[in-house]
């Protein structure tokens, strides 16, 4: 368990929040289905709204991620916090639907909790002041929900420090090409600040792979220097072939990651906010979301308050008012609760 790869496998990012593309897709479809099942009883049978498809949901999450990045830039939060908050936000909306919980609220909560997770102190009131029509209570309301949604995995492994390491190594190996390396460094950093957050790169690739992919987009030769074809001084043929195989596999993975990152190059950051067409194209989606969202869970503050009250009454009375009385969906919740209690697993079952 001592190799670098094994040590990464121990991280919560790998254990809980890494998926193969197919399983991630299945997970999103499942989340969407469950949300539909839960929300449809809220509406009259003859007035069922048109629900969002998983693809539309993904598009909305992407949009709100850009909003989150913009908000973080506005609040002048450091890059790591911005990225952590964005990853929290995206992780939350893998197992929760946009229709169930309002993304505009959770966006702020993610930012605040991202600060906490990265050990960066910011006053809650100060953060709330930054946003229009926002109280600190609103930001806090979704905090525990968010923690549950991200399965209490607060450690996000970013590719930024990996990039610093790679650049140090490159500067050692190429002392005469200082300018080239510095340029690659700046460009790769720009990519890492934006592209992996808008794509699923954090779910499918490891930080060092993402970093290599960013470098590959900027300057292919630099990656060849970092991952040499064959180690000099290796005579054993078997070792060489296994090394070559491994290298091919790594290069292939990095290239697929690069393809993913190239879909959202950092130049698109401006587009999201400035091109009217793109903003307009999202408008019907947001309207659709307004119509089909879970009205009972739209107000996180009230939800939180109800839950607190329920918890306090539970202490006084042996039989508390059932969850269904508060939320209006007795049947689907109760068996679940029983199951959760039976499993006795704070973090829930495997995804």
């Amino acid at each position: 368990m001592t190799t670098e790869d094994d040590r990464y496998r121990q991280s919560s990012q790998f254990r809980l929040w890494s998926f193969s593309p197919t399983s991630l897709r299945e997970l999103r479809v499942k989340t969407n289905d469950l949300a539909k099942q839960q929300i449809s009883p809220r509406f009259a049978p003859d007035a069922q709204p048109e629900f969002l498809t998983p693809a539309e949901e993904a598009l909305l999450v992407q949009f709100f991620t850009t909003e989150l990045i913009r908000a973080a830039q506005f609040c002048e939060l450091p890059t790591e916090i911005r990225s952590t908050a964005a990853v929290f936000f995206r992780r939350f909306y893998i197992t929760n639907s946009v229709m169930t919980y309002p993304p505009t609220e959770l966006l702020k909560t993610s930012l605040f909790f991202g600060c906490k997770a990265e050990g960066y102190y910011i006053r809650l009131a100060k953060l709330a002041e930054m946003f229009p029509n926002t109280t600190s209570e609103q930001i806090l309301a979704g905090e525990f929900l968010l923690c549950q949604g991200i399965r209490f995995a607060f450690d996000v492994r970013h590719p930024f420090r990996a990039l610093e390491g790679a650049i140090l190594e490159l500067r050692r190996q190429l002392p005469e090409q200082e300018g080239r390396v510095a340029k690659a460094h700046a460009m790769a950093r720009d990519i890492l600040k934006f592209s992996p957050l808008l794509t699923d790169a954090y779910f499918h690739y490891t930080p060092s792979q993402i970093m290599m992919a960013a470098l590959l987009m900027v300057d292919k030769e630099l990656v060849d220097i970092l991952i040499p074809a064959a180690q000099p001084g290796d005579e054993e043929s078997q070792h060489v072939t296994s090394h070559a195989e491994m290298r091919d596999k790594i290069i292939k993975t990095i290239e697929s990651c690069r393809d993913m990152l190239e879909k959202e190059p950092p130049t698109r950051m401006k587009e999201y906010w400035e091109t009217p067409e793109l903003v307009k194209s999202l408008k019907p989606l947001r309207k659709k979301l307004q119509k089909c969202r879970d009205t009972d869970r739209a107000d996180l503050v009230a939800l939180q308050r109800a839950r607190r009250e329920q918890a306090t009454t539970k202490v006084k009375k042996p039989t508390p008012p059932s969850d269904g009385a508060v939320f209006g969906d007795a049947e689907p919740r109760d068996p679940k609760r029983r199951k959760l209690e039976a499993a006795n697993d704070l973090f829930g079952p495997a995804l």
Partner: protein, 382 residues
Amino acid sequence: MSRPSGTSTVSVRHASNSNSNSSSAFVSAPLPPADQDEICPVCKTTRYFNKDMEFRINTECYHRMCKTCVERIFKDGPNQCPYAECHKTLRLRGFKTAFFGDLGVEREVDIRRRVAAVFNKAEDDFESLDAYNDYLYMVECLTDDLVNGNDEARKKAEAQLAEWEAQHKAEIERNRKLARESDETRQKRLAAEQDAARQRRLQELQEDAAERANAARFREEMLNSLQNAELGHAEEAVDRILLKKRGQQKRDATLDAVATMGGGSGLSIRGLRDKRAPVQDDKPYDPFGGLDLAPQRIDLSSEKLSQYKSEWLDITRTKEDYIVGGYSSREYLTRALFEAFSGLGVFVAEDKDMREEATVAASLEAVSTGPAGGKMDVDGPF
């Protein structure tokens, strides 16, 4: 083994309750009231009529009866135990006086003596302490089965005992002889030591007496010489006598030294056959238990680390503000370089697909159990 057997000087003050019919009942039998000692349960004679009444037991069933009853019933050969429901056939030869008041203890001691006669290996017969401990454990288990076990366990233990005796006949005999020899030598040594001690005491007494006599003589001599010495030569006379005394003391000291040199030490060491000292591990303590955290894709030795340069690193390396505070660029460098290559060979899609095959069935089941059986809805942990 070393307990003097047979010649018991302790009279039975608290003979045990012997109304039970099976020997296993002794195990949990409470101590009998003291007046049980007063009446023989067989002939009902009381101590009032027979002042010298003495109780006997047989190791077959441990039922108490008075000496008169034993002689009356078993004088003409083997007979059945007079207790109701006890069908053991007893012989006169098997009777003895109980050493312990509690017959349960008496029985256990008898059994232990019997077992020890068969399992008579000593510590020096074993190579390792583990083997010796295993042997002791086995013997103790067997003994416990015999003493406290139910009928079945007891039968099994008896069989085991007999088997062991048959298998290790020669060895047992040899060990017994060795034990007897070592016992004898020990007895001899003890006797010799006692003898020597007595001799020493006698000698000391004699020496004391001699010294006292010497002192008295010396005093007398001195007085005599002072008396006889010419006038004005008293000091010379005293000096001469003192010189003589000193010479005497020196001679005594050498004699003593010779005596102690000759006395050999009767010390003998017993223990495991394997006398090697345990191997000592003198290596420094490794808190990580041999865990090697050095990455394989990059060399993080300190001479290599010093080759990495950047304006920030140069500042931390040269500026005294940082150096004095104890900041080392090494931590940052190792972490950054480690992260650059950590997880490069982890292929999430492959790894996760492999894991999924194991868990997919479980998760499908979870989804199918209820409409909201998935984990999408994580709101109530209460």
